[in-house]
């Protein structure tokens, strides 16, 4: 087994995830929130790949590829929505977009 110990990967993934989560919770621009969600997804991907390598099995890598595919589609939809909002001159602030409140 080459490379750093598994704990390094776990810690890095945790840090990335926390960064993403904080970004989602603190920022108000939908573009940035979308980016932060991508960071969280990629931290999960990193863990999947790391453990796949640790166990010498390909399952995790396959999962990671699926996640990427889903993430890509999700970004397409999300960005599309944001662009549509921009073109209609809607203010890009999630705290203002609260018409779905109960």
């Amino acid at each position: 087994m080459h490379g750093p110990d598994i704990s390094w990967y776990v810690v890095l993934a945790a840090l990335l995830f926390a960064t993403g989560a904080l970004g989602v919770m603190l920022r108000r621009n939908p573009l940035i929130i979308l980016l932060s969600v991508e960071i969280m997804l990629n931290s999960a991907n990193l863990l999947l790949i790391a453990f796949a390598r640790l166990h010498g099995q390909a399952d995790g890598q396959i999962f990671a590829i699926s996640v990427m595919a889903v993430a890509a589609s999700e970004v397409v939809v999300g960005l599309g929505l944001i662009v549509a909002m921009g073109r209609r001159h809607v203010e890009l602030d999630v705290d203002k977009l609260r018409t779905l409140r109960g």
Partner: protein, 625 residues
């Protein structure tokens, strides 16, 4: 013979299904003819089976045919089997034969009625159910037929569904009969528990021969018979059932269905022989009914109700005969009664038809001149009913009365009741006859009597069937005469061997007494209603109120049930059920309002909630590991 029996059973069912499925695709006339022809076809099949049976020797005449196992539960298997023996073939011939005549009569009677097709589908269903009842090879099929005749009776009584009294009468008949069905089902449960079978032969062989269980079984069967045959105390539905169309009253509530109780007693006679007290009870109730119904019939003013009470009274005779052990005599009276009572009803139907639906005899009168043919038919039916020789009732009723003389002290009580009944029969029957046909034509009759074109007094289908039944009522009695000539008794002997045998002297005494008393009744009726030498007495309230049976049931069952349900409604339903539902909805509304506030539309607060939830879960999992 077996094939003939199946054809006999299934033809009416096929007709009922065909008429129902064809719906408006066929004309009313076609439906009527399909129904008539299938019923007559049934009769032909029964006749074929009968002729085949005649060709065999006594022991081989009965035959059970099982098509498949109909029901099987654990160790119990009940086949869909038909039993064709000497007893059931007699019933098949009566049901399909009289049924065929009455369905043919309906073609004319129901003409122009709305929903004629529905009527013919129902009546075919009835014929099927009745044949299933008499042909069923085990008690379970008998019970199935029993319930289905109740259903078709309900449907046909309530045929005029837009007429509230008809609907009420239908419900009353159904509930009363359901009570009888229930007691019968209980008897069958006891039989299964004690013998493990419901086939007639095995049940009779292994049923308990005495003690409480035998009594309970016989009581349960008797309950069913009393309800179906309208005997005290379950009789109140039959007069109300006259709300149905007249051919229905003739077929179901006079000739066939109501006599099913007698058939049941004769069919399961060993079970009643094991419980002689219950058999005596049945005979006593029959005797009480025949006197009571005769008394009530004296004051009724509806032509059909008079005949209905007369039916109850005559079934009382059959009960006395069957329960006293004179099975062939009971069956014989069942047969002749089917002829003359169907005749009386159908003749009454011609009158009602001619008077555009009027049934009150006080508005009739003097119809004899306008309708001589109907008058003759009615006269023959009345004489047969009273038992004046040589008409049918004389032979059958007097043999029952004679049989009671062979039963010791209890038999003498029955004998006295039967003779009282004979007198009453003469009185009420000829009261009806003289009031309807005698004297001057009433105002109402003059105004409303309409005769169809031509010489006939009604549609052809109605006239020829009445003529045929007149013939049967006149000569049907010659099938059997005391001990001189008794082919029916011999024929039924292998199935139901009577244990009373009246001597010639007793037959003579019974016949003379019954005929003299019947003639006295006729004479009195003539004096009061025709010659008017005696003033018409004021009707007794007790009789007009029909001995207060309806009021009794009302006070005993309906009123308490109504009180209890109203009390439960006020004390339980309102506060507990209705109240609790109100509280529940208010609680949900409040809770939903509170939770709704959490849905504030801020995406970031949702994300915070998710993240903190996951964090809490993670902590919980880690700490409980």
């Amino acid at each position: 013979m077996k094939i003939a029996a199946w054809i006999c059973l299934l033809l009416p069912l096929a007709s009922a299904l065909a008429i129902t499925l064809a719906g408006t695709g066929i004309s009313r006339r076609v439906a009527a003819y399909v129904s008539t022809l299938t019923t007559i076809g049934s009769f032909a099949a029964a006749a074929v089976a009968f002729v085949e049976m005649l060709g065999k020797h006594g022991g081989q005449r009965a035959g059970v045919t099982t098509s498949w196992t109909w029901l099987s539960a654990g160790p119990y298997h009940f086949g869909l089997s038909l039993l064709v023996d000497q007893l059931s073939i007699v019933m098949m011939l009566i049901v399909a034969g009289v049924g065929g005549l009455i369905v043919a009569y309906s073609v004319g009677y129901m003409d122009g009625e709305n929903e004629e097709r529905r009527y013919f589908a129902y009546i075919s269903l009835f014929v099927f159910s009745m044949l299933l009842l008499v042909e069923g090879g085990n008690l379970l099929l008998l019970l199935a037929g029993w319930g289905m005749v109740g259903l078709s009776s309900y449907l046909l009584i309530g045929f005029h569904q837009d007429r509230p009294p008809a609907v009420a009468a239908a419900k009353k008949a159904f509930v009363m009969n359901a009570f009888g069905d229930a007691t019968m089902a209980l008897a069958l449960f006891l039989l299964i528990a004690h013998t493990g079978h419901l086939d007639y032969a095995s049940v009779f062989a292994s049923s308990p021969t005495g003690g409480t269980v035998a009594n309970l079984i016989a009581l349960g069967l008797l309950g069913g018979a009393l309800a179906k045959s309208a005997q005290i105390p379950l009789h109140t539905w039959l007069p109300d059932a006259m709300e149905g169309p007249t051919p229905v009253s003739a077929l179901i509530h006079a000739a066939t269905m109501v006599t099913a109780g007698v058939y049941l007693i004769v069919r399961t006679h060993p079970l009643f022989e094991f419980a002689p007290k219950v058999a005596d009870l049945a005979a006593g109730l029959g005797a009480a009914t025949l006197v009571m119904a005769g008394l009530i019939a004296l004051v009724q003013t509806d032509i059909k109700r008079v005949i209905a009470y007369s039916t109850m009274s005559q079934i009382g005779y059959m009960f006395v005969g069957a329960a006293a052990g004179a099975y062939p005599n009971g069956m014989f009276h069942l047969m002749t009664h089917a002829f003359f009572k169907a005749l009386l009803f159908l003749a009454a139907g011609i009158i009602i038809h001619a008077l555009t639906g009027e049934q009150d005899i006080r508005r009739m009168g003097g119809l004899g001149k306008a309708m001589p043919h109907t008058r003759r038919a009615f006269l023959v039916g009345s004489l047969a009913l009273v038992g004046i020789p040589p008409f049918a009732g004389f032979f059958s009723k007097d043999s029952i009365i004679a049989a009671t003389l062979d039963r010791g002290a209890f038999g003498y009580c029955l004998f006295a009741a039967c003779l009282a009944g004979a007198f009453l029969t003469g009185l009420y029957t000829f009261r009806l006859y003289f009031v309807v046909f005698g004297g001057e034509q009433s105002e109402f009759a003059k105004e409303h009597l309409h005769k169809p074109q031509g010489k006939l007094e009604g549609p052809l289908s109605m006239v020829w069937t009445v003529t045929a039944l007149t013939g049967l009522s006149a000569v049907g009695g010659f099938l059997q005469f005391g001990r001189v000539w008794h082919p029916l008794t011999t024929w039924l002997d292998p199935v139901a061997q009577p244990f009373v045998d009246a001597s010639n002297a007793k037959e003579a005494i019974a016949s003379i007494c019954a005929v003299v008393l019947g003639a006295a009744g006729i004479y009195l009726a003539h004096a009061v209603y025709a010659a008017k030498t005696i003033k018409v007495p004021k009707p007794v309230t007790l009789l007009e109120k029909k001995f207060y049976w309806d009021e009794l049931y009302d006070a005993l069952l309906y009123k308490p049930a109504e009180l209890i349900s109203q009390g439960l409604g006020r004390l339980v339903e309102q506060p507990l059920i209705a109240g609790s539902i109100g509280e529940l909805t208010r609680g949900f509304r409040l809770g939903a309002g509170g939770l709704g506030r959490a849905q504030n539309g801020l995406v970031r607060s949702y994300a915070l909630a998710v993240a903190s939830g996951v964090a809490i879960l993670a902590v919980v999992f880690l700490s409980t590991r």
